[in-house]
């Protein structure tokens, strides 16, 4: 499948062009992207540290999941809202960037994993009796999120 025409179209969108032609727009949007990264990290860590047994311990993981979910969703929305314009401004570079594809693959996997398997493990009553399941769920989540963060950072170096 030839993706070049699609990425070319993205690159030529008015938003992409406006960001490229501006001195400061990329920087400002990127700063919001980083802010989103920080908030996302916080919500993910609340649940994953709980599952690993090294964060909050007295509250059930299900309670932490429910309490932090609006912030998780909010961070993801902020990350998409800032990430998509950044992508549009350099779509052609992304098409040929290995890091970009690592990031997109990890992102797809981690979102699927979080809202299917992780959510089920967190909400199930038996989670506390099965430490191996708990811990491996947290580790998979952290590894996949790190794939997103690694790819994201390395797009900038390519």
């Amino acid at each position: 499948m030839d993706l070049l025409p699609l990425f070319q179209w993205c690159y030529n969108t008015p938003v992409g062009e406006a960001i490229r032609n501006s001195n400061w727009m990329f920087a400002i949007i990127e700063a919001f992207h980083l802010l989103g990264l920080g908030f996302l990290g916080g919500t993910v860590l609340m649940v994953d540290l709980r599952l690993l047994g090294v964060g909050l311990r007295k509250q059930p993981a299900a309670q932490l999941w429910a309490a932090t979910q609006p912030w998780l969703v909010g961070s993801v929305v902020l990350l998409f809202a800032s990430g998509i314009p950044l992508f549009l401004s350099e779509a052609i570079k992304c098409l040929y960037s290995f890091a970009f594809w690592v990031k997109m693959t990890s992102l797809l996997l981690v979102l699927l994993f979080t809202f299917t398997i992780l959510r089920r493990v967190v909400q199930s009553d038996f989670a506390s009796d099965r430490p191996l399941l708990r811990r491996s769920t947290a580790i998979i989540s952290l590894v996949l999120w790190f794939g997103v963060a690694w790819g994201g950072r390395w797009i900038g170096f390519s």
Partner: protein, 187 residues
Amino acid sequence: MSLLSFFEQLAELPWSVELHESQYAYSIIESIHVWTLCLFFGTIAMVDLRLLGLTMRGVPVSELARRVLPWTVAGFILMVITGTLLVFAIPVRTYQSIFFRGKMLLLVLAGLNVWLFHSRVYPKVAAWDADGVPPRAARVAGAVSLVLWSCIIFSGRMIAYNWFDCDRQPQLAIINFLTSCAPASGQ
């Protein structure tokens, strides 16, 4: 010795030059600095949001402080180590950066907020530990913390851009004053 000559001498050190010219070391240190945002800013933001009554209202504040703040401290230590190395790699330009100076000032204010919270507000936590929405003083500390750390992320990110660099003249007089930059006349 002036601050400028201190940073100029740092720049002369062999390992400052090596770090600056390294193929991977600088990128890796910078990446760790950015990724640690998740650990440092992420955990402190969750505590701040709890102080504001905006998340985890069922979790006592002292429980969060005990189980989550150690991760924040670990993140902060990592931030300081990687951040210091980044300054060592590019000493003079960073010292003159308006955003770096702004960031250092904001860091002092954030530190002051941490100190005020832990010396004035947190010692009385027993009285409101389980409250879904903590009292005003705690909410203010949480809000101030969120705003300051967000501004620190912004100014930190902007250090990478050279809009106000000393070697880019002409600049407004106020910019040259704030960066203690003395451009040669006629530039």
